[in-house]
């Protein structure tokens, strides 16, 4: 989680960051990042393997 936050911090605005996670790690990424301003997409990539793509939401965008 912390490593992912460091990667996101370094990524240019609007650039998605993707990574592979296990099932037990998926929930720890999906919920907290959705709550804190990221679009989170999760794709199954095998048994207990998921591809997670996170993109920082545009804070200036209207509803």
């Amino acid at each position: 989680m912390i490593r992912l936050r460091l990667l996101l911090k370094k990524a240019p605005a609007g650039t998605p960051v993707a990574c592979f996670v296990r099932r037990d790690q998926k929930d720890t990424v999906e919920v907290p990042f959705s709550r804190s301003g990221y679009d989170v997409a999760v794709f199954a990539a095998g048994t207990n393997r998921y591809r997670v793509v996170l993109t920082k939401k545009d804070e200036g965008a209207g509803p």
Binding site: I2, R5, K9, R22, D24, Q25, T28, S36, T47
Partner: protein
């Protein structure tokens, strides 16, 4: 009823006692002046300090004894000492007891086995808080066994809790993982692994729950984990049977409940408000006890500072209001500009703070008196870490923002 208590097992320095005293003064002078003016007496005290292990030396050192006397001059403050640990260390508290006989207690409660134990006092206090029956008592263990006496105290504590008819939860974090290694065979010390197994058996015999979640990251780092692809779980061939290696978030999910969680150095501070319902469900995030994490150690000498931040991020990720306060030697996390060589995969503590600051439910603070005492200033780039003095610290400990309905706040020293 004991609204507030501190359980202290590690060394208590003059600096630590000074800030504790300042926070108590804030509580009495700013928040409860009527208690301060009229010295309201309650049978059990408003603040209870439960002292065991090396914390007891603070009752012997003349410098800290003076500070204790100042703290005990506040209304309704008492100390309960672990008589067995006092005897082990050859420490006498008779001088302090002569001055303050009602406030310094060195005889302990009888258990159902007819033996006096400090942990019976702790279990009684931990059970007294509002919670469904049977209650639950948790213990966060961060130290390894044998090198650290705290692991043995954890076993004693949870055994007393089971005897007081509480379900128990042992959370193994950082080096606390080692407490659950199989085949421990100490010749000169009590066997901690066997103690944990006996605890699980005792709880089962009494129809009580006993859980021992161990952090996956910490377990993997220490060589405990293998990944079971079919079950989708981390398993280990070298842990005792009650241990379950799980993602930190599964452990933190337990912190979303309102039972008392103890540890080597912790506090539980009552924040119940007037008119609040007397019973509530076990899991509701607006009622999850807030967590205040005190980072008291230098950043790189041990894993404690990083472990504290990682723990805080996980708490906040579960929607638990989490405040991290860099205090005592923990302020070294914030001073100077920390740099790592080149493109190393690893990172420094300041990078971590910078990356996670701004997360929902997560706040960082620097305790200014600790910086001043060391002649240090905070790195100006660490602007996500807010400066606080003793008043701000008191507000964090004793005043909850509107909308939070938790009955108590957890304070954990790292």
């Amino acid at each position: 009823m004991n609204p507030h208590f501190f359980l202290l097992s590690g060394p208590v320095t003059q600096e630590r006692l000074a800030w504790i005293g300042d926070c108590l003064k804030f509580y009495f002078i700013k928040l409860n002046p009527e208690n301060f003016l009229h010295h309201t007496k309650t049978e059990d005290g408003v603040f209870t300090f439960l002292l065991t292990g090396d914390a007891l030396y603070s009752l012997h050192d003349p410098a800290t004894v003076r500070t204790w006397e100042n703290i005990l001059s506040l209304p309704s403050v008492r100390i309960i000492c672990d008589r067995q640990e006092l005897a082990l260390r050859g420490i006498s508290v008779e001088g302090l007891k002569r001055k303050l006989p009602d406030q310094v207690i060195d005889h302990n409660r009888l258990g159902i086995n007819g033996q006096q134990s400090f942990w019976n006092d702790v279990a009684k206090i931990a059970r007294q808080h509002e919670q469904p029956i049977p209650s639950t008592v948790g213990y966060l263990q961060m130290d390894s066994p044998y090198m650290n006496r705290s692991s043995l105290l954890a076993v004693k504590c949870l055994t007393a809790a089971v005897e007081a008819h509480a379900s128990v939860e042992f959370y193994a974090y950082l080096d606390g993982i080692h407490c659950g290694h199989i085949d421990q065979a100490p010749l000169e010390f009590e066997n901690v692994g066997r103690g944990l197994e006996a605890l699980a058996e005792k709880a089962a015999k009494r129809g009580l729950q006993c859980q021992m979640p161990a952090c996956t990251r910490c377990a993997a780092a220490r060589g405990y984990s293998t990944w079971d692809e079919t079950e989708g779980e981390v398993v280990s061939a070298c842990t005792i049977r009650p241990y379950r290696i799980r993602n930190l978030n599964e452990m933190i999910e337990r912190f979303g409940r309102n039972h008392i969680i103890l540890g080597e150095n912790v506090a539980s501070l009552q924040v119940k408000k007037e008119g609040q319902a007397s019973s509530f469900s076990l899991v509701e995030t607006d009622r999850a006890p807030p967590v205040t994490i005190l980072v008291t150690r230098t950043p790189y000498g041990t894993e404690l500072a990083f472990g504290a931040i990682s723990f805080a991020v996980a708490c906040a990720g579960q929607g638990i209001l989490t405040r991290v306060i860099f205090i005592e030697d923990g302020v070294y996390c914030l001073t100077g500009s920390h740099t790592k060589n080149g493109d190393t995969w690893f990172f420094n503590v300041q990078d971590v703070i910078d990356a996670v600051a701004g997360s929902a439910d997560l706040q960082f603070y620097a305790y200014l008196p600790s910086l001043e005492r060391r002649g240090l200033v905070k790195n100006p780039k660490m602007n996500a870490v807010l400066d606080i003095g003793s008043t701000g610290f008191g507000q964090i400990l004793f005043s909850l923002s509107k909308g939070h309905l938790a009955g108590h706040q957890r304070v954990i020293f790292f």
